[in-house]
Symmetry: D2
């Protein structure tokens, strides 16, 4: 059967795409970690967390300024103010910034502040947004939709590449299943499956996959073991007070231990692969 995609396929490009974000490289066999809170809440909060995760070895700082929320009554993010706080984090820590863009209207603004732009699960098939991202000079993290097939994920990436932006990092973040003991079900197999089908790097977001702090750590280790090109993890200095996703955010101390073990696992997996 002919593959429905072209530019993202291994047939089109044999060697892995390397996506650079600051000092981090996704796709070259290293294991860069993106960490930070779900949402930017205050300057003090992001600076505190950023210093923690940087010391633990994270290479990119994440934080949402525009938050897609199921409820119109939930905290929707600080918007531009949040982006300014993120810029401050970059200035003070040197960490590049990953943050989500929700629509074409705010794309220019987010692009101005972000080092790598995240497109969320719910927007994986927002084709207008994908096209706009394809015209950006920023790398893009494209999160898999909750019930997207591998082929659909790759086709959405194709929209971006087709417009000229080849710096796309795919991100598995759990799929929706009948399971009730976790928020979503991490699809481990998609990591080797992406690597077979595509030259694009693929990272894992264990925080949204699990939705429960203790499971996040286990899934983070699994992600390293799977041979993913990195992970994106939620860390909060006061998870119990977080304005969103507190239950799945690691404490800074947990993150330090998790980093050590993930890196040790990565070293084993990488060795003979």
């Amino acid at each position: 059967m002919t593959k429905p995609y072209k530019l993202v396929g291994r047939e089109f490009q044999q060697e892995n795409t390397h996506v650079k974000v600051g000092d981090a490289v996704f796709g070259n066999g290293s294991f860069p970690v993106i960490a930070g809170p779900c949402a930017v809440e205050s300057e003090k909060q992001v600076l505190s967390i950023a210093n923690s995760v940087k010391n633990a070895g994270a290479k990119v700082f994440r934080g949402g300024a525009f938050k897609p929320r199921t409820s119109p009554y939930a905290f929707q993010g600080l918007g531009k103010k949040g982006l300014i706080f993120l810029a401050k984090v970059r200035e003070e820590t040197g960490l590049p910034i990953a943050t989500e863009v929700m629509d074409v209207e705010t794309f220019d603004l987010v692009e101005e502040y972000a080092d790598v732009i995240q497109i969320g699960s719910r927007n994986m098939q927002n084709f207008s947004l994908l096209k706009r991202a394809g015209n950006s000079d920023r790398p893009v993290i494209l999160k898999r939709g909750m019930s997207a097939t591998l082929s659909e994920l790759l086709m959405s990436a194709e929209y971006i590449l087709e417009q000229g932006n080849t710096n796309v990092i795919l991100c598995e973040r759990g799929i929706r299943t009948f399971v009730r003991h976790s928020r979503n079900t991490l699809d481990c197999s998609v990591v080797p499956a992406v690597k077979k089908e595509s030259h694009l790097p693929v990272i894992v977001d264990p925080s949204h996959a699990a939705g429960i702090r203790d499971q996040v750590i286990s899934l983070a280790y699994a992600s390293a073991a799977l041979g993913a090109d990195g992970v994106m993890i939620e860390v909060h200095n006061h998870p119990e007070e977080a304005r969103s996703d507190g239950a799945q955010s690691l404490y800074p101390d947990q993150f330090i231990t998790a980093m050590e073990k993930m890196m040790a696992i990565h070293a084993i997996i990488g060795k003979k692969q």
Copy 2:
């Protein structure tokens, strides 16, 4: 447990919302049928189909001018030209027009031509689009996402109502499951479940649920039997030549029979309910 939604809930409004689109009323116990091709392909095509479905009893004509497609290489719709053809259909047949809007950028344009605006499954949680729809004076058909829970569907409707637009029609179009003998799995239970939780009308799209012509007819009858507030069905004069969704489009003759039986079933269900 407190419900996460407010304006869309039965607690907030006991009586059913009636949404008027031309002569059709959704939510008042009648069973209006929306029919037409997946995509607008030519003036001749839409006029031919529109006359067929009108004669068979359809109350609203559907046709996509902007098509969200998994592949960037697939037919993306005729755009504004398609909308002009749809206006011609309205002029010639008197049928009101239902057509999809894909993004905020083209909303004004679609709004100008559509009598009822459709928000597709992939955009069910495109919150910027929902807010824009909330500021429209057009009724909105909100299609359930492929893996959306009932609560998430209602919360997305809440975004629209919260901005002031109360004319929202919910639409079940099949969910993604492990099943492989159909494109999606129609979730029958969501019809009575919506009616219990919300005052908004709920219709069914058997075409996208089944993805296979013969199953579409069975599911259409089931939709009438379930007590839905209407259906939306794909009909094409030459399904084998359709530029999208041909395999699930009914032939005009099939649609005539389907209309008769759906109406007869609706009459039975309505009687003592």
Copy 3:
């Protein structure tokens, strides 16, 4: 692709198989209804319900004497005593009896009392049990497993036919999905899909699919509209006191109305099909 099954396929036998159970015929275009409580609780209970459902037009009485229960601490059925009560129902009402068999050890016993033997969802791939059923002279209702594909369902039926018993009635009872507003999700498409692939009759169990009384009625109407070869519905004289599945059992009065409408819908569907 070659079909993995043989005896159950339309290629092997063009004309529909008719399975007779008492006066009822499954597969000949009629719509026999099987009704009764989830579990046999007492002689008085089954006689009371049997008289109700018979008067409403049910053709077969159902009731479980051996109950497969998720918990070892839940009511496991009355066993042989339950079968004796069922025999009494047959004697007094003339209704044939459908009851579940859970294992090979009790097969002889169940076979002695049942007019049609039910194999439950959890046993759909209990191959030893299927082989034993294939050597029975009783018709068999084979319920689809909660996550069985159409092909797997047909292959399980093939086990029975291959041993010589061709009187198999397939039964859709809902599949497990991410949905939480119902116990399971009724897979409507499987009805036309079975009819295309196989000559065996297929009925629907809306009670287990929905798990919620009000939804059961809607799904029962949908089942008739789908062109199923019958339904199996739980009815209880005192649902609130039922020892299992009370929440999904219809009251006798609801069943009377449901019967009328199902039959009226069936008449419409049958007409021109």
Copy 4:
């Protein structure tokens, strides 16, 4: 909410259950590996594979003599002859034997030959079989059903414990989801979730979860990283000639590398946990 289970719960027993099978202990923080072919095909085959996997460090040999197969026409296993070959493996290599039991009728026979008895996914809710296993003096590997919730898995284990057999090893083997790039989807989260809810050991079967050789290796590493109490992996000396599951069986050489890395990962995870 009260837990539906009792004997399997952490509330009932705080400390981990240790299940001994030969030299292997499941549940004490070690990581024993069960390896062997899907089906016993010949004495030569099992001896060859057994020597390979033993040298690589496997602690238990697996091989099916009675095979539950979707199709009645597929290879159903060698039966008693297969068990005799397995006994020969034990005699020659000293490895204890894990093999599946399909029904109560053959339980005595399987029990005579097996060191640990496997109950397959399709039989997870075969309650008669569970009760029989509860009366065995052999340890039991209970595989999770393809769409079983955590609670249902634990309840099935409860059936075994309630009869007196406390030596139960739970086994995650992938769940059925919409995904098509793998045979099933490994549910990583169930490992930490079981450990929280229950004192029973939990192992992972990456072979059935993936269904594709290359993915099996990745999932095996993930299993070690998750903190599972072991894994069960299919290894075949000639996968391309295997009578079942060839596509997911590792070559002996792959297994050697996989063992080394799994053990190295386990050492990291175990350290500070």
